[in-house]
Subunit: 378 residues, 2 copies
């Protein structure tokens, strides 16, 4: 078991990482809060896989535990679902001394987190992320949100939890595709800010699909440490935190263009990171060797992406819908070395279009347009 | 013109107070933000009274200005109305660099504030409160919220604005009843924490209904200074901030019991403050002289309140619905002197019931039960 402390102004909280640690650490975190009751929020899939799991982890402790389930899936990460959660909290007569436990992947963490951020202007929150993606990404840093029909994570808040319990045992029931999707974000943390983490992952690629909990504990710990370090320096995304969006510009385009229902976020980020690496190389920021090493770790994990054909105006329009876009330009995250990302401000979508064409031409097995070949003359 | 600075960890912002100062100070506050555009949120009544007011105040400045109106009234301070605001922000292609100007009373300030707190996890907010109540109360301190069908201000966040412009000129069109309702909260700040402010108000009672802007500037400034001082010491309502709820325990009961549609919040608070003063005297915390002075300032402003008959269990049930209630007891705010409130923890609703009966018996012109006389034997 490893523990990482996230130090933010006015809030320091622990992230506990290990295999089979829920029973030990969830009650401890709740003791520090001393709530009057606990409301666990989960989805129906997890509830089927682990019925009564949270209640059992809290057996013998004084807090009454209620469970609220929502349907499983990103399409339910909406203001409507959140509204039903407010209703059910009120029906339970929840008070400011009710603690919320978010028990699930990123959708649950984001939505239960926003509930805890806004119910009576804020009640205690503990994150129990059950997917690899949530463990290394969304459970660290305090971002919470629901989607709007016109954009992802449009309605949200920053809400730091009282603590995070990352129990690797939940990875045992995680579908392989989701495990791989989470790996992209984990590897991303090495690529953008921790060359040693990248080395460690590169030399342990054989463990990526397995259940070597020592490997996962180390990998998740180091990955969370990178993210926590970035968040500590820039909680509200004024600057540095943007490097966490490495790979996300193209990922958002892919997700929006394919309706968010064909590819997992991590999968889109995987392709997006390869594109950002390609651009870093082409703009002469990154050397050949580093670019090659990144490709050789990422490419074996890629599930090829196919999306409807795009012309230049659709390409630019989709890029500008990114909520980090501002005044017609983008912040594009590039690499100057392995472990060293930087922010390229005021990147024009038009600059990226020919590079995107070249990337497609070079990587037909990674990303394809359906309905005809790509024309960069657009 | 007077300026007060609110100093909070990570945020310091000015409150400008004066007559006819919007044109001067709204653009200045926006300049500090340098937004890409401005979205002003108001209600249809203000829009009719002051068409184009915000746009005109920003004439000659570079920011495009959009206006979003919502229907006027507390009954529209809901998640549904907020949801339409998110939709309209998205339709305008608002970004993180869009600044929100809340132009209205407490309902607008609370709802536009929550919009700014949660749209893309937070965008800049400037408060332009147009009612006396909002000027001395809701625009200072960063509380934002919408109501839930089962309770007021259940869904909300803390969101400190970039600045507040209190233009007293808006009081000219404020109905007398609303002006008086706001006065109760203004006077409250003197009663709980600033005996000099109370003295000033006591010796200027003749100005309460008039347009002596010098008086109002001084009164609003001092009142905001009290509130800002309390908020600075306790932003998130961990302790001290609770004294601002002086008078609010009974006020919430009155509002809930009468369906929030017969009395203005300030009016209910007026009666609630008299009750809290009565309890302070009866429990021997407060002297006769101070209690008498408070009564002599408040009573002439009271609009008598009538509500359906209550028995003891309804009384206790309504008190426990207050969101500050916890584990069957209340935090009741009492006075130990003029200008010195304190928090009485773990107050039992049952203790208050006989005092409530005596208060009713003593004050038949302030508060009445409809449908029979009050029986404290309940």
């Amino acid at each position: 078991m490893k523990t990482l402390t996230v130090n933010l102004p006015g809030a320091a909280y622990p992230i506990h990482i290990g295999h089979d640690i829920l029973e030990q650490h969830l009650p401890r975190l709740l003791e520090a809060v001393s709530p009057e009751r606990v409301v666990a929020i989960t989805n129906d899939t997890l509830h089927r896989l682990y019925p009564g799991r949270i209640a059992r982890a809290l057996e013998g402790h004084p807090w009454p535990v209620e469970l609220l389930t929502v349907p499983d899936g990103e399409q339910f990460k909406t203001l409507d679902t959140l509204s039903t959660l407010y209703d059910r909290m009120m029906a339970l007569a929840a008070t400011r001394k009710t603690a919320v436990v978010a028990f699930g992947g990123g959708v649950i963490g984001d939505m239960a987190g926003l509930l805890a951020a806004t119910f009576m202007r804020g009640i205690p929150l503990i994150q129990v992320p059950t997917t690899l993606l949530a463990q290394v990404d969304s459970s660290v840093g305090g971002k919470t949100a629901v989607n709007h029909p016109r954009g992802k994570n449009i309605i949200g808040a920053f809400k730091q939890p009282e603590g995070v319990v990352i129990d690797l045992a939940f990875l045992e029931t995680l579908p392989g595709r989701e495990l791989r999707a989470g790996l992209f974000e984990l590897i991303k943390h090495g690529i953008i800010r921790d060359a040693e983490l990248f080395d460690f992952l590169e030399s342990n690629q054989a463990q990526f699909g397995g259940r070597n909990w020592e490997f996962w504990e180390e990998a998740v710990f180091r990955s969370c440490r990178v993210k926590a370090g970035v968040v500590e320096k820039d909680e509200k995304e004024a600057g540095l935190r943007a490097i966490l969006n490495f790979g996300h510009t193209l990922a958002h385009l892919i997700e929006t263009h394919t309706g968010y229902d064909q590819y997992l976020h991590g999968e889109a980020v995987g392709v997006g990171m390869l594109f950002a690496t390609f651009v870093s190389r082409r703009m002469d920021h990154l050397g050949d060797d580093a670019a090659g090493r990144i490709r050789s770790v990422l490419e074996p994990l890629i599930h090829p992406v196919a999306m409807p054909r795009l012309d230049v105006s659709a390409f630019e329009g989709l890029l500008m819908h990114d909520k980090k876009a501002s005044a017609g330009t983008l912040r594009f995250i590039l690499l100057k070395a392995l472990g060293e990302a930087f922010i390229r401000e005021k990147t024009e979508p038009a600059e990226l279009w020919p590079l995107f064409g070249d990337f497609l031409a070079q990587s037909p097995n990674l990303l394809q347009m359906k309905g005809g070949s790509f024309k960069s003359s657009g």
